[in-house]
Every structure is written in C-alpha cells, then in structure tokens.
C-alpha cells in the first residue's frame, strides 16, 4: 500500500512538473509569435507612408520609417525597458504595492550589465524576459512609426530618428509605466483602464506628433496665402490602403500581446488569461470585439467619406476607439463606438488644417484624438468595473473622472516631449530639410536608388 501511495505521489509530481513546463513553453511561444505579427504593423506603416508620399519622396519616407524601427530596438533595450519597470509609481521611482516596480526592481532585471544581465540575454532558466521585452519593443517601435507618417516629405532623417527614439524608448514607456502597469499611479489612484493601449500608445504618439508638427511646419504648397489648404495626394493610394490593412493585421498581434498568459513569470493566474492589470479576460471575447470594431469603424467612415483612405483609417480608428475596453465591451456597443469614431474621423482631421498644421496622413486625429475619445468612452460605459485585480473594495474602479485624468496625462506626456525636443532640433538645424531639397524631392537629393526608375506609365486611352 505504501509503495503504491509513493508511486502515486511521484506520478502526480511528474504530471504537475509536466503541466508547468507546458504552460511555460506555451507562454513563451505565445509572446514570441506576437512579435512577427506586430512586424506586420511596420510593413503596413512602410507601405502606407510610401504610398502617401509623392513620387519624388517615396524612398526617403521608407528610409525614415525603417530607421525608426531599427533605432528604437536597441535604445529600448539600453534604457526603455528599465524606465518601464522603474517608474510606475512616478518619480523618483519608489517600489509599488505589487513588488514589481521601482528603480531598485528595474535595476535588478532590466540593465544589460551586472546581476540583472542574466535577464537580458540567453538564460536557460528564463523563458519570459526576452519574449516579454520583445513584445514591448514592438509596442515601442509601433509608437514611433505612428508619428512617422505625419511628418513625411520635409523632415530630416537623423532629426526624425532622434524624435523616434525619444518617443519610442522614453515618452510612451513613461506613460505605460504610469497607466499600463499594475503599480502605475494612474491605475492605483484613478482606476485608469487602457487594455489595448489607446492612451499609452496612440494618444502619446498622436500628440507627440502634434508637438513636432508645430515646429516642423507644413509642406511647401500645402497652404495658400489666404490660409486655405490644398490636398497633396500621395502617389499610390492602393499601396496606402494595403498598408493600412497590414497595420490592421498586425494589430491582432499587438492586442494579443496585451494579454498576460498563464505560466510565465508575471502571470496573475495559473489557469486563465488576464489583462495587464490582472483583470480576467479571454482571447475569445477579444475576437468578438476587435472584429466588430473593425466593421463599425469602416462603415462609419464610408458613410461620411466614401473614400478608401478614410475607410481603412476608419477601420483603424474603430479599433483605437475601443482599445481601452476591448476586454470588457459588449460587441454591439463596440460596433457603435467604432462606428462613431469612423464617422467623426475625417471631419476631425480637418481641424488641425484650420490651424495651419499639415499632418500628412491624419495621424494626430486617427491616433491622438480618437485615442482620447476611446479613453473617455470607456469611462462613460464601464464606470464601476474594477480596473485592477484585487479583493472586493480594495481594487480601484473605472470612472469617467479617472479616464479623463488619464487622457489629460497621456496628452501631456506625448505633446510636451515632442514639442521640446523638436524645438531643440529646430534650433540645431536638424529638423527640416532645406527648401531647395524639399522642392527637388528628397529621393533625388539623398537616396541612393530610385523608386520607379522607368517611371509610372499612364493608363491606356480607351481607344487602345
């Protein structure tokens, strides 16, 4: 009998170890796969921006976009990851209630030297740090790419890269620490809930771009002497539309990476998914809501504009407008909010033009304005929901007030660094290309190859 019990105990222990290993490997694989999915976002931004550029600037826009991606990755490794873990409670970086924040904690896991280096490179006992860092690095690069489109056809390459580093490896990271971390002061004090990063990614990127645009100025020919705006058409709308669809495809990876999976170092539960706040959720529920948001945003934009550019932007706006609450919205409500976002998108994008701001792709509106709309919408519809995992009465709850505070903070954390750094670059002569280069086109001036060396043949006449 004793022998049989011992055998049974050994078998149970073996099964437990096997289940834990399966969980760990599943979590590692899950996050690993979000990374190539999110690279679709960058393929999309690349196509989107190049299509939105005139033929004389196509490759220059592409180079800028590729470099933003390339420089955000190492800089996020050098210091961005450390900022995320170091400052959720604010400055100077005290430890938070969950024990996974503060400068001391960050320095023990996120510096690439000393003892913490073991979590920043190959480690047979650590299946979580690299893939989690990788997913966050993709968020960082996405944030920088969002800004990129607004500035095309007149910004200097290196000046832009510096702005991308500040945005992707610092500004959004600070916002994420404050509002997208269980110890974040916006979460703990105000119950801010932003599951899919409408605020910490989109609002930050949109308003950072606005701060830069104020110093950068419009493209030559955008505005007439009386202040009226001209439409500067990109050279390839189909490329832009496909790019937007790629961004949408990539957003499945982005939103997938916003979940915390059972079985890894930072998991809240051993048996279910949660949001980054530890609130329980499912991929199934997320699928309902993302798809309904895509449909709503597109239809809203189609009704108002009938323009494929705005329809595809509307699809993106639908997701952004509902991103904060994709974990808890009812799909019908998701559709309605996304529809409104799609419908207001194009009219809202004309507002910056009235102030002489030339946002070449509407990034400030699609990401900034719609992101704010989404944060506040969640406050309207989800008030009273616990915004964080915790015992009844202990967990902060979502409120309109809290979401508005969150929106204001995100607008400022985006706008202020963008405005200041762009101002400094302008003083140093590193922001805008010279007028002659802009008129000649940036590709012939500074790109070593041609986008269309044989030209683009016009459509054949009907008789032919």
């Amino acid at each position: 009998m004793e022998e049989q019990i011992a055998e049974l105990v050994a078998t149970v222990a073996e099964l437990k170890a096997s289940a834990a290993t399966t969980n760990t490997i599943f979590a590692e694989t899950y996050y690993y796969l979000t990374i190539p999915l999110m690279i679709f976002i960058h393929a999309g931004f690349l196509a989107y921006e190049m299509g939105a550029s005139r033929t004389k600037n196509v490759l220059s826009s592409g180079v800028k976009n590729i470099l933003a991606f390339a420089f955000v990755l190492p800089t996020f490794y050098f210091f961005g990851w450390w900022v995320y873990w170091g400052f959720p409670t604010g400055i100077p970086g005290a430890a938070g209630p969950n024990g996974i924040s503060g400068v001391e904690y960050a320095s023990s896991i996120a510096w690439a030297w000393g003892e913490s280096a073991q979590y920043m490179g190959p480690n047979i006992a650590d299946n979580a740090s690299g893939v989690f860092w990788g997913a966050f690095a993709m968020f960082a690069a996405t944030t920088a790419s969002i800004m990129s489109g607004a500035l095309i056809e007149r910004i200097q390459t290196v000046g832009f890269v510096i702005l991308a580093i500040v945005l992707g490896s610092f500004a959004w990271v600070l916002a994420a620490a404050w509002g997208w971390h269980a110890d974040g002061w916006l979460v703990q004090k105000f119950g801010v809930h932003d599951f899919g990063a409408a605020g910490v990614v989109h609002v930050i990127a949109g308003f950072f771009a606005l701060g830069v645009l104020l110093h950068l100025g419009p493209r030559i020919g955008k505005f007439n002497a009386d202040g009226s705006a001209n439409h500067i058409a990109g050279h390839n709308l189909p490329l832009t539309a496909v790019g937007l669809m790629l961004i949408i495809a990539g957003f499945w990876g982005f939103l997938m990476a916003c979940l915390i999976v059972p079985g890894e170092a930072w998991s809240w539960f051993g048996d279910k998914f949660s949001s980054i706040y530890g609130t329980p959720m499912t991929l199934s529920g997320l699928s309902f809501n993302i798809l309904m948001a895509m449909g709503g945003g597109t239809i809203g934009a189609w009704l108002v504009t009938r323009d494929p550019f705005w329809m595809m932007s509307g699809m993106l706006a639908g997701i952004i407008a509902t991103a904060s609450g994709l974990d808890i919205y009812w799909p019908g409500l998701t559709f309605v909010i996304a529809f409104v976002a799609g419908a207001i998108l194009s009219p809202a994008a004309r507002i910056p033009e009235r102030f002489g701001i030339d946002d070449a792709v509407g990034a400030v509106t699609v990401h900034g304005t719609i992101g704010v709309f989404g944060l506040i919408a969640l406050g309207v519809f989800a008030s009273g929901f616990p915004s964080l995992q915790g015992a009844a009465g202990d967990a902060p709850t979502i409120s309109l007030y809290g979401q508005i505070i969150g929106a204001i903070v995100f607008v400022l954390v985006g706008f202020v660094p963008g405005y200041i750094v762009a101002g400094i670059l302008k003083m140093l002569g590193m922001l805008r290309v010279p007028e002659k280069a802009e008129i000649a086109g940036l590709d012939p001036v500074k790109v070593a190859s041609a986008a269309y060396p044989e030209g683009i043949p016009p459509s054949a006449a009907p008789a032919e």
Partner: protein, 56 residues
C-alpha cells in the same frame, strides 16, 4: 571570452548561458553597441547635410 562554466559541458548550465555570463563584458559590449548607435547618428547627420549642401 570562452565557455563560462567548468566543466565545459551544457550539463553544467542552469541559468545564464551567454558569452561573458557573470563577467564585466556584458557592460563593455552594451556600451560599444550604444556608441555604435551614437556614431551612426552623427555620421548619418554629417552625410545628410553634405547632400543638402550640394543642392543649395
């Protein structure tokens, strides 16, 4: 930097397994990588402005 474990067998590896694990070279290489980024920006800026100057 060599295999950081004795004896030279993967059986001895239970944690960090990269080149230079446990030593100071991680800092050195990180600093070199950061310096490469700074140099690339500086060099890129110089080249970019040289091209603009040609079109003045």
């Amino acid at each position: 930097m060599g295999f950081p474990f004795e004896p030279a067998s993967w059986d001895a590896v239970t944690g960090a397994m990269y080149m230079g694990a446990g030593g100071s070279m991680t800092l050195v290489y990180t600093l070199i990588a950061a310096a490469v980024c700074v140099y690339a920006l500086w060099r890129g800026h110089s080249k970019e402005h040289a091209l603009y100057d040609k079109h003045k």
